[in-house]
Amino acid sequence: MQESTANQVAANATSSFTEHLLRDRPELLPFSRSLQGGASAAVPVQVPHATTIVAMSYGGGVLMAGDRRATMGNVIASRHIEKVFPADHFSVLGIAGTAGIAIDLTRLFQVELEHYEKIEGTQLSLEGKANRLGAMIRGNLPLALQGLAVVPLFAGFDTTAGVGRLFSYDVTGGRYEEHEHHTVGSGSVFARGALKKLWRPNLTAAEALSVAVESLYDAADDDSATGGPDTVRQLWPVVYTVDRTGARRVPEPELAAASRGVIEARTIAGREA
């Protein structure tokens, strides 16, 4: 009896929440099952999709911003969705792709990091976090092949190196470190164009915020699945910054001011494109 307990304890000695779920409660994992019947790659199921996320480094940290629109085909499924989340004290996560799975993956990733921290008594390294996220995205590959892909963007402050870092992923869980800036989602091509022109090294946090809002505005201008700042409903992008002191959600008044600044400048310019 005792020996079997010891074996069990040793076998259970994992610091990973995902591994624990995989072993004990696989039905709770967002990617534990593949869809049976109905869905095929040719005819993707109609579920909400989340779109543009932009992220960039600035002097002393990284910033990530996401618009608030979720679409289902040509219909706007939500105007309030949030696509950027704090992963833990020193990292944030933005998601594009199938909203339901992406939000569940985010929740799992948040618990994964906190679980490791509590079991081990220390935080994972930023590389470790980025690799864990890659493994989760890879776990979702069967669903991705059926049209339910999730593409995250991960940013955090590397406390050992003392710099902000940025990681992008593909649906197979491939992890790529990005320098300067990156963007994912259907509006990303337009946002990237804006970023290329507006970003420069050692921006201040405030300048980075207005660059992020402007590039999201450009994405919303040309991509129907990305929502622009909504002055009627007072909806602004969700923006997080991560620096030496940790992750911080940029408060609404700052976002409102940055968004109004962009809208006013465009109104004054009065240009067609």
Binding site: M1, L28, G121
Partner: protein, 236 residues
């Protein structure tokens, strides 16, 4: 084939309980005190990395005395239980009561079914929005569970420490006073009733559950471990 001697169940349980009690009595004490600022957990522990006090969940902490490997496996099981529950239901559905009853069941099962009972004593503490909503559960090696108010003392000199803390405990204490009181209880009384030198911060393990962590620190995780500098600053 040798004949097994008959041992009555009463005797068997008594022997096991004595065995576990002896194991626990060898260790140093841990104090958990509910106060106005939240819950303070104080242990005499010279190791900076082998903890007797740990975070379980947002508002829940764990403290233990006894054999390290045994309570560490229980702590990890508690973290898993809490994380699975919070992930599958919601974060607010993880309660100290649920966790304590899981611990009581596992300790009870080990006490009766395994070769050797666990030589541990645990405390599960949950900080509430008001002091009246704080929960302190004390669990012993046989799976007994007690719902305590104001404070819990476990370990070697539990009775002596407990009477010292009982004499000084007040609901209105802040963290500094609570830790000072715990220290007073934990400091061994020398021969001739002279109070001994107070324990240095390096011999202490101190953690707190902040009652207002959401508003003051902007995090729902109330648990905060204090390092030597924090302890010195708190007691200054």
């Amino acid at each position: 084939m040798t004949q097994q001697f008959y041992v009555s169940p009463e005797q068997l349980m008594k022997d096991r309980a004595d065995f576990a009690r002896k194991g626990i009595a060898r260790g140093r004490s841990v104090v958990v005190i509910s106060c106005a600022d939240g819950i303070a957990l104080v242990a005499e522990n010279p190791s900076p990395s082998l903890h007797k006090i740990g975070e379980i969940y947002d508002k829940i902490a764990f403290a233990a005395v006894g054999k390290y490997n045994e309570f560490e496996s229980l702590r990890q099981a508690g973290v898993r239980y809490a994380d699975v529950r919070g992930y599958s239901y919601d974060r607010e559905d993880v309660t100290a009561r649920g966790l304590a009853s899981v611990y009581a069941q596992s300790l009870g099962a080990v006490f009766t079914a395994e070769q050797k009972p666990f030589e541990v004593e645990l405390a599960v503490a949950e900080v509430g929005p008001t002091q009246a909503e704080d929960h302190l559960y004390r669990l012993t090696f046989d799976g007994s569970i007690a719902d305590e108010h104001s404070f819990v003392v476990m370990g070697g000199q539990a009775e002596k420490v407990s009477s010292a803390i009982d004499a000084g405990w007040q609901a209105s204490m802040g963290f500094a006073d609570a830790v000072r009181l715990a220290l007073k209880g934990l400091t061994p009384v020398q021969e001739g009733e002279q109070p001994g030198a107070p324990l240095p911060p390096s011999a202490l393990e101190v953690a707190v559950l902040d009652r207002l962590s959401d508003s003051t620190r902007g995090t729902r995780r109330a648990f905060r471990r204090l390092n030597d500098a924090d302890i010195t600053a708190l007691l200054a």
